[in-house]
């Protein structure tokens, strides 16, 4: 018994160390965002005087709100399209045996591990000549290239776990292939779809390289890129506080999403589907 208590203490210590390591920078940014004026250089962790001034500055800058709108719009569209397409693709890969299946999967993996920076320059030139530069679509397309492969991999793993019999039972019960897919397979794969959607959304939401390279104005510039173009109140003032405030704001949707879907991600919905 004593051994297990000691073991647990060690576990807690290790967990605490990891948490501090991971969350300290975040806490620092939060603290920074509440420091006003000269307080930023106060050589303390906590602000001497708390204030919302930086948040006010971020919203007033005229850069942040359009960027937030761009980020939300582009990420949501890219995620929705990627999830829809990858659901179909993954279902086909999981269920059907067709020539070239392996090639599709390994190509998808290859695309996913391809270094993004190497395609930015060619993409920049192509986008400029065909008029996609500095547009939503110009970002949605590369984001889908990033999110689709990982989505297909995650979802096809989920589909493979769903017993074939579920679908066969639906067909015998009178369902068309499409009905079986929509009424049985997709609800069962719902945790997988949610997981995939979150991963896809994060990839698009957090992207910086495409955001900064393929946009030039607030027409399409997403938040991560916009943060870099913040300026201080005067030429001699660093915009540190406003950037921190904006960074905190863009982190909030990510946290909210994880909290909302946590249950779906973890839930094993297929319990009781078969003999169990």
């Amino acid at each position: 018994m004593s051994a297990s208590i000691r073991e647990r203490i060690w576990w807690y210590l290790a967990a605490a160390a990891v948490l501090v390591y991971a969350l300290f920078p975040v806490a620092w940014i939060v603290s920074l965002s509440f420091k006003e004026g000269a307080d930023i250089g106060n050589r303390q962790f906590l602000p001497t005087q708390w204030g919302w001034g930086n948040y006010q500055a971020a919203f007033d800058s005229g850069l942040f709100i359009p960027a937030l709108r761009n980020s939300l719009g582009i990420s949501i569209i890219a995620t929705a399209v990627a999830v829809l397409l990858s659901t179909f693709a993954a279902y086909g890969i999981a269920r059907l045996d067709f020539p070239g299946k392996k090639i599709i999967l390994s190509t998808a993996l290859a695309v996913a591990i391809f270094p993004v920076i190497s395609i930015v320059t060619p993409l920049f030139n192509v986008w400029r000549s065909i008029g996609l530069f500095d547009t939503w679509l110009g970002l949605i397309i590369p984001y889908m290239a990033l999110t689709l492969p990982i989505s297909i991999w995650v979802l096809s793993a989920f589909f493979r776990q769903i017993p074939w019999e579920m679908e066969q039972a639906a067909q015998v019960d009178g369902a068309t292939t499409w009905q079986a897919f929509r009424k049985v397979i997709v609800p069962l794969a719902w945790p997988g779809v949610a997981t995939t959607a979150i991963i896809a959304f994060f990839i698009a939401w957090n992207d910086f390289i495409f955001g900064i390279s393929l946009t030039s104005t607030e027409r399409a510039r997403p938040v991560p890129a916009a943060l870099a173009s913040f300026t201080g109140a005067s030429q001699f003032e660093q915009p540190t506080g406003a950037i921190s405030a904006a960074a905190v704001i863009v982190t909030i949707p990510v946290i909210v999403l994880v909290l909302l879907f946590q249950r779906q991600i973890v839930a094993g919905l297929t319990n009781g589907a078969v003999k169990g």
């Binding site: 017993p163 066969q168 039972a169 015998v172 719902w190 919905l269 009781g272 589907a273 078969v274």
Partner: protein, 405 residues
């Protein structure tokens, strides 16, 4: 409700494996037919071909009046209960049962009526709002059956529906299925590897081996007049004893002595160098319990009982013996095919509970020669097929029909 006819149905897989080979079978309207055989005999494949989940390589499948070879499962209007139930885990019991009706776009009031009716039949009324994950094995089984009976299907198909239940529940569900089928009077095809289920449930039983149909007959006929060694060994528990012998001039030479065969049998067998005598455990008896006259009709032989299992109403005695090596090999091959693994050649003998034979003691046993079968070891054919005594009725249903006629 509809009859189902299979004409020379064959299934060949991509690798050339013949899972089902030239099976012809007519299933009458309202009949309960069992497909039985050891694992890998093609019985499930055959069922899945009927329901439409497997393509038919060649041959014809007729349901009602239509050839349905190329129809999708949803157009065949058959109901199937899967081995692992295949309930929809995201739907409540109510919606699981209602699923086929919802697909058929039945209006809500009718759905409710039908679902409650099915739930009543299966005593699922109080569980309608629960999810399958929270049900016991037997309840899940009943939900799967509810989904089948809720709509007006042409036939029921069962794919080993009881194999995931424990022994007691299996017995109860078996009776339940039988009662349900009689009540609804619907054509039913039932796949199982369990010969007890096969014998107790079916009007007729089709025995399959390596994709070939061996015999289609009533349970009684299968038991009393098996057409070959395979059927004889598969049906019955404990299984039939196979005793190597040779026959000359109506006298069979066996490891237990010479037996004079009844004239009827002797005529059918003729003179043969090597045969296999098939004798069910209950064809044996403790000689001291058999009257003088009956003793004349059988073979008396001395035997030493190795192990004795007393079951209350009867007892099983195990009598090891030595047999010719080549024959032993052939019989153990058959045994393997029947999913058995006999370590030694032995007789399994069923004795009356009042017998006082004890283990390890030499005693006199008696074999009723009037009831034995003689098989050709090469082809496996039964050489001594006799007309079944029809007056005893070959199945409960037929017996009932006789009674009403």
């Amino acid at each position: 409700m509809a009859p189902i006819t299979l004409k020379n149905v064959t299934k060949v897989y991509g690798d050339g494996f013949h899972a089902v080979d030239d099976v012809s079978l007519e299933i009458a309207d309202g009949e309960f037919v069992i497909l039985v055989g050891p694992s890998g005999c093609g019985k499930s494949t055959l069922l899945r071909m009927i329901v439409g989940l497997e393509d038919i390589t060649s041959g014809e499948l007729v349901i009602g009046d239509d050839v349905v070879n190329d129809q999708a499962p949803r157009n065949r209007n058959l109901a199937m209960v899967f081995q692992n139930y295949a309930l929809y885990p995201h739907l409540t019991v109510y919606e699981n049962i209602a699923f086929p009706l919802r697909l058929a776009k039945v209006d809500n009031q009718k759905v409710d009526e039908q679902v409650r009716k099915a739930a009543d039949v299966l005593e699922l009324g109080e569980h309608l709002d629960r999810k399958p994950a929270n049900l016991s094995g037997g309840q899940r089984q009943r939900v799967a059956m509810g989904r089948a009976i809720v709509r007006d299907a042409k036939a029921f198909l069962f794919d080993e529906p009881l194999s995931n239940l424990d022994a007691k529940l299996r017995g109860q569900m078996r009776t339940e299925i039988s009662r349900l089928q009689k009540r609804l009077g619907i054509t039913t095809v039932y796949v199982t590897h369990d010969q007890v289920e096969a014998m107790t449930l079916g009007d007729r039983v089709a025995v399959l081996r390596h994709g070939h149909l061996q015999q289609v007959a009533s349970p009684r006929e299968l038991y009393e007049q098996p057409v070959n060694l395979f059927v004889a060994g598969f049906i019955g528990s404990p299984p039939m004893n196979f005793i190597p012998a040779s026959v000359a001039d109506g006298v069979a030479t066996t490891p237990f002595g010479d037996a004079k065969l009844p004239t009827e049998l002797a005529d059918m067998v003729g003179n043969r160098e090597s045969v296999v005598i098939g004798a069910r455990p209950e064809h044996f008896e403790d000689a001291s319990l058999v009257d003088e006259e009956a003793q004349q009709q059988g073979l008396l032989f001395p035997a030493t009982v190795d192990v004795l299992e007393w079951l209350g109403n009867e007892q099983y005695a195990y009598v090891p013996y030595d047999a010719d090596a080549s024959m032993t090999e052939q019989l153990s091959e058959l045994d393997r095919e029947l999913d058995g693994e006999a370590m030694r050649t032995q007789l399994v003998v069923s004795l009356d509970a009042s017998s006082h034979i004890t283990e390890g003691e030499e005693t006199q046993l008696w074999l009723d020669l009037r009831r034995i079968h003689v098989f050709d070891p090469e082809s496996g054919d039964n050489l001594t097929l006799r007309e079944l005594d029809e007056s005893r009725g070959s199945s409960p249903r037929e017996a009932a029909e006789h009674a009403t006629a």
